[in-house]
Symmetry: C2
Subunit: 416 residues, 2 copies
């Protein structure tokens, strides 16, 4: 007897998380004997708790292909860590009410943990459920997979932006801006900042200095290196991960700027660094904060990343109908050059709450750059272009308004 | 008798200023009977003052086509306004030493003024010189031309980024960030911020509010509109031009943040706005500052902008060999839809130091958006894609190291 399925997007969105959804849904439609109705939860796990369900049958095949080309979370995502048993029980109640036999959760490390707990609870309650985790995070910090879908595209965006902005600084440094700081995402792991190094083809090309959360920030040493770089090349391009910490372990972004009311201004790492550089050197500086621009930039998606995002979605459907559960789909690297990979799966228990930061052998001796080993790992992930179709000069992204199913249960009292 | 030529890039660079250089040089090579040697000044007008000249004959035709695909100023640019007669006389001395009969200046309004003054000085000294101004500025504030080459590409980048980041905010607003502020360039004219409106295809799509330098900023009214927007759509995406001023005429970016030393932190409009919004509403906010990323983003160049940038360069060469001088090349719009245009020229005296800001009829009644008239003007400028070739996952931009000619004059004492 076929049963129903729920798909939910979790945590910070990516340029290609919808591509995983499209791969999953297109594949699941090939198995009507296993999966009858396929719902998407509105706004991630909150949509399950609140019984806000979208019947994905409304999406035509053409729309599923447009979904593949649309960044961010088309069904909505959320940051909500399940805290109480009451919440877990509510999930199970919703699953029962809709005869959900398959739960697909598309997220990072926290979501893997949630996915596992939901599955364990179902088992304890003798409720038959297959829980499959589909990996996603621009932070690239999931263990046991070669990379996390979403990361490669952000890496390509950041490396491209640094190559472009670097040319800008180079062309005007003689009489104008000498130092440029780009702040990128990465609160605990420096993968995104590290990937900016791919912009440099030869010594002297930007970025000149990379600040990683894995390396405690020493201001004096940094300033000296900025001065050396400007002396040598005429300018300095610096890429800083938002999560850079000082030697006491405090986020640098929390130490610097204050607003007009004297409140600490978070998320201002770039201006904080620039204030330090200006005060110490007098150099004219500019700074940029890419923020959501970097993780929504589907127009610069890596074709490799996109292919992997689709593949993990497809594999999730296949493994589910093959009877698997409590696994995370993975990407397994077979070779670096040429880059070859295949899809695998690992038990969820091995994944949950393990964070993969940059290994020491990927960080160069100075602590402000990456090694050839890191480059060998990173380079394949940004290969290939996969631009969306453009209409009227702009990417033709989908923008859906969803019709929700009529709830079958009483309204959830703990609604968030 | 053929004479020699100098080309110089001026002011803030653009994604397509090198395309104008390529159009100019490729065309000039067709007229050896008029132009013998063609030099580029290293770092703009400073390169003329310092007699730092590059013989562009070193560039193969293949390299000139790569130049067309490379953002920023390949020969170097500068921000240097000629102040003294001594500087003007030095320019003339360099021209005489190298038998320069053609001076091509590629810049914005200030450069048009310089170009005119150089020409007037030459005439007063009975030195035969043809001075041609090639328009360039992402600010789009040059008069008497339909638009300024460079603007269309930045407009396309900003509109694309807002559409992408807008989807990001939309997908997480239910439980996370509700307000997103993107700061873009535009110190006196709001053209770039205005162009972000093209991202919106229907009511409710981002951007929801646009802050222009042309409209004095009233904090209370703004906060009310942010609250209304969040109430209506669930989130608010705001695009702010860096040059937004308060009702007393002070730059908003100078009113807000202070660094750890208490110094005012310039260029921090986005965090300043976010601090206000947070304090008044408590909404979770995110902000981005595109800075150089926007004006170097050749990977998202507008094909229309690129074609115009090449065309103004080509026309400059053609008008020069046809004997014209003291003109700026212009783009003339023949029709909106379909967009047709041709190349023209206007006397430099009509251009110099005139700044074209957004006309009142382009700004909507509320002051936070644009009219259909503005949309009709802006939309054609971002049409068409012209991505550079990618190698190894990244745009294959040129990165030239120049050999300078041996100076013929004593070193300039006022060297800058």
């Amino acid at each position: 007897m076929p049963r129903n399925a729920i798909y939910a997007q979790s945590g910070g969105v990516t340029p290609v998380i919808n591509a995983s959804a499209a791969g999953l849904l297109l594949t699941a439609r090939q198995y009507p004997q296993h999966i009858e109705r396929f719902f998407a939860a509105k706004n991630g796990i909150l949509g399950v708790l609140n019984e806000a369900l979208i019947d994905t049958a409304v999406l035509s095949e053409r729309e599923l292909h447009q979904l593949k080309q649309t960044p961010s979370g088309a069904f909505g995502s959320c940051r909500h860590k399940l805290k109480t048993d009451a919440e877990l029980k509510r999930l199970l109640a919703v699953f029962q009410a809709w005869d959900i036999g398959y739960f697909f959760y598309n997220g990072g490390g926290d979501s893997a943990d949630t996915c596992l707990r939901v599955s364990e609870l179902a088992r304890a309650a003798n409720y038959p459920l297959q829980a499959i985790h589909i990996p996603k995070t621009i932070d690239n910090d999931l263990p046991l997979t070669d990379c996390s879908p979403g990361f490669g595209s952000v890496a390509k965006y950041v490396a491209t932006s640094v190559r472009e902005a670097g040319l800008d600084v180079a062309s005007m440094a003689a009489s104008s801006t000498k130092v440029f700081v780009l702040e990128v995402m990465g609160r605990h792991a420096g993968w995104i900042a590290a990937a900016s190094a791919l912009a440099s083809r030869q010594a002297g090309e930007p970025p000149h200095l990379i600040l990683l959360p894995e390396v405690p920030f020493e201001s004096e040493r940094f300033i000296t290196l900025v001065q050396d770089t400007v002396a040598r090349y005429g300018y300095a391009v610096i890429v800083a991960a938002e999560g850079v910490k000082d030697t006491s372990g405090q986020f640098l972004s929390e130490t610097g700027l204050r607003d007009a009311f004297g409140h600490a201004q978070l998320g201002g790492l770039a201006p904080t660094l620039v204030a330090q550089i200006k005060a110490a050197t007098g150099f004219k500086c500019h700074w940029a904060v890419a923020d959501y621009l970097q993780r929504a930039a589907r127009h610069l998606a890596s074709a490799t990343d996109l292919a992997q995002a689709v593949a993990v979605g497809e594999a999730a459907a296949q493994l589910a109908v093959a009877g698997q559960s409590e696994v995370m789909i993975t990407v397994e690297r077979l070779s670096d050059k040429p880059y070859t990979w295949e899809i695998g799966a690992v038990p969820l228990a091995m994944v949950a709450n393990v964070e993969k930061t940059m290994p020491p052998e990927f960080i160069d001796a100075q602590g402000f750059g990456i090694t050839d080993l890191a480059r060998r790992y990173l380079s394949p992930l940004i290969q290939g272009e996969a631009p969306p179709p453009f209409i009227d000069g702009l990417p033709d992204y989908g923008f859906w308004q969803w019709q929700l199913e009529t709830p079958r249960l009483p309204r959830y009292s703990q609604e968030v």
